[in-house]
């Protein structure tokens, strides 16, 4: 770039400065295009937030106000009764113990599934990246392709295999299923991360006499914190939001929160309590939303890899 000298002789104007000037100017006198741009973004943001708003206000209205049919109206009388009912006494079938049952089940499923799938993903990624045993690449390619196959294709044989092992419809069964189906993405995540670790580091550890496990535990795992955070975010939200695997594999005693939520709302007879339903929907979404808001950029990092699943 040639140096730009302006008429007043102020000399060199860097590109960054020129850009910041342009931005400041834009701030002072917005062009029509700029106004249109903001109008679009703000409208879109309002539409995106609308369902959340409607969920929120519906969940704190008494049913008499809901029957008036104004979705957006703020509650005249705010009540937390629907939240209490959703959590403590909403019915699925004949059981009326509320969503806390599903919440406890989801926690019991998510914690071990997340830990196990990340441990295996890290180990696989490490072995694939640094040790590269013969034939492992081909296995890895099949594993990655498997991430795209609809669960329905593998479902029935898995049901039979788990039944033969005696874990179908049990907590270990659903944890195993999440670990199996989480493996492609977790392996991909860690393998790509370890691919960015300088190989010289690994070679130095080898020369110092480090073995397979020692290098993994003492050198690679401590380096893996950033990718582990991404992995935890992906697995917690992904497994929490799972519906079909929990429906099929968890068994009636361990149904996750999403399945229980759907049962509460879609299989109840009698008058539909929309306020309780919306409180229940919000309650079920709280964990992933909290993870999302707390994790910020980390969530976005997991997206490309994480979206492969689901």
């Amino acid at each position: 770039m040639t140096a730009a000298v302006d008429s007043r002789g102020l000399g060199r104007e860097s590109l960054a400065e020129r850009r910041s000037v342009r931005r400041r100017r834009a701030g002072r006198a917005p062009t029509p295009a700029r106004i249109g741009l903001y109008a679009f973004l703000l409208t879109a943001a309002a539409l995106f937030l609308l369902p959340l708003y409607v969920m929120g206000v519906t969940s704190v209205k008494p049913m008499e106000e809901i029957r008036l049919g104004n979705l957006f109206a703020l509650p005249v009388r705010v009540t937390l009764e629907p939240w209490a009912q959703a959590w403590l006494s909403a019915c699925t079938g004949l059981q009326c113990e509320g969503l806390r049952v599903g919440f406890a089940n989801s926690v019991a499923i998510v914690v071990p599934s997340t830990a196990l799938s990340i441990a295996l993903g890290a180990l696989n990624g490490y072995a694939l990246s640094f040790w590269r045993p013969r034939g492992a690449q081909a296995l890895y390619a099949v594993l990655l392709t498997g991430a795209f196959i609809p669960y329905q294709v593998m479902m029935f044989p898995l049901v039979r295999a788990l039944a033969a092992l005696g874990v179908f419809g049990s907590l270990p069964g659903i944890v195993l299923v999440h670990t199996l189906f989480g493996m492609p993405v977790m392996t991909l995540l860690f393998r790509n991360y370890y691919a960015g670790v300088p190989r010289e580091l690994f070679m130095a550890a080898r020369i110092d006499g480090g073995g397979f496990w020692r290098i993994f535990v003492q050198l690679m795992l401590p380096l893996s914190l950033p990718v582990a955070v991404v992995a935890v975010i992906m697995q917690v939200t992904g497994i929490w939001n799972d519906f079909v695997l929990g429906l099929v594999f968890a068994g009636s005693d361990h149904l996750p929160m999403t399945v229980q939520l759907n049962n509460i709302i879609n299989t109840t007879t009698g008058e539909r309590l929309y306020n309780v339903n919306m409180a229940a929907t919000l309650l079920t979404s709280l964990v992933p939303l909290a993870v999302y808001l707390a994790s910020g950029r980390w969530f976005v990092r997991g997206i490309a890899a994480g979206a492969v699943k689901g």
Binding site: F48, N70, L71, Q152, M154, N192, Y274, G296, I303, A305
Partner: protein, 325 residues
């Protein structure tokens, strides 16, 4: 390396030992189970799997079934609406956010939060919003527009559109995030050159930037398309396949036939059709990606080739106010 020849077998033995769970998963879940399903689709199995061989009879039954052909049609319609909707909306959001707007972090958070919610919750919220008696329709009528009609969720011809709206709301933030990462990777000097030449920004996007985003678009497309084939939760939560059969989808057809209607052979044939659909969608993308990776590997020095991130991590261009999602 200069290791003696007796070392490699041992080192491979330990690595293989560590990879046994992965090998078992691949062989059992991703090869064995898929092969089993393909095999059962050629048998007359109903309640229990039977090892006979009836050729393609289950496939004939499948495509004679109105429920299945309706499911396929619904999936195609949903897929077209969902993919086009997400790509267009996601692209607009990404490009506008890329124009250095104020509050970028907040806007990104808003556009992406639905993606953190489950498809079940998405379906249930939209079921409520689109409820003809008490939802948007009655609210807008209450404002004085008595003729306002928005009862798509209970209309056979429009219910898939209603489901697509809910799904676009949930997933277009994903497209925005993927494309925004791609936009941030565009070389800054290109923008400089365009500005010096006096080319308006929309021309630069249309003619130069978007063509460069091909890989990001391809990734977004594949992810969305695979999501279409798998679509299940949102339908179950929103309409349970109704009204009538109007929102039945293939994934639901399979689950119903496996676990409710005891039609294992038919369900396996249906899942084989889904499998082929996914592989057909996937093959060109994997091929293109493989070629791109090999090209990169050739161009870069061996050490640098690994630096190419497969996930959009840190943006290469410093993002103005990129506070977090």
């Amino acid at each position: 390396m200069t290791t003696p020849s007796r070392r490699p077998p041992l080192r491979h033995a330990m690595a293989w030992l560590a990879l046994l769970p992965m090998a078992a998963t691949v062989l059992w879940v991703y090869v064995g189970s898929v092969a089993w399903s393909l095999r059962v689709s050629l048998s007359s199995s109903r309640t229990l799997p039977i090892a006979d061989f009836v050729g393609l009879r289950q496939y004939e039954r499948l495509f004679d079934s109105e429920r299945w052909t309706t499911s396929l049609r619904n999936m195609a319609l949903f897929g077209a609406l969902f993919i086009v909707g997400c790509l267009v909306l996601g692209l607009l959001l990404a490009v506008f956010i890329d124009r250095r707007v104020k509050g970028e972090g907040l806007l990104r958070t808003v556009f992406l939060y639905p993606y953190a919610m489950s498809f079940v919750a998405t379906g249930l919220v939209w079921q409520w919003l689109l409820n003809p008696e008490l939802g948007l329709q009655s609210t807008v009528r209450g404002w004085g527009l008595a003729g306002f009609n928005f009862d798509w969720i209970v209309r056979q011809d429009m219910v898939m559109v209603a489901i697509a709206i809910a799904a676009v709301w949930q997933a277009s933030g994903l497209v925005m995030a993927l494309l925004l990462a791609g936009l941030r990777g565009v070389d800054d000097s290109l923008w400089m050159a365009a500005r010096i030449d006096g080319i308006p920004p929309w021309r630069v996007y249309a003619s130069i930037v978007l063509p460069q985003l091909g890989p990001s678009f391809a990734t977004a497309f594949v992810l969305l398309a695979v999501g279409v084939v798998k679509v299940f939760d949102v339908v179950v939560a929103m309409t349970q396949g109704g009204p009538g059969l109007a929102s039945e989808v293939p994934a639901k057809f399979i689950i119903d036939n496996l676990f409710v209607r005891a039609n294992i052979g038919l369900a396996s044939a249906a899942s084989s059709v889904l499998l082929l659909t996914v592989l057909a969608l996937l093959a060109p993308w994997l091929y293109a990606r493989g070629r791109a990776a090999r090209r990169d590997a050739r161009r870069l020095a061996p050490g640098q080739a690994q630096a190419r991130p497969d996930m959009p991590g840190a943006p290469r261009r410093p993002a103005a106010g990129a506070g977090g999602a």
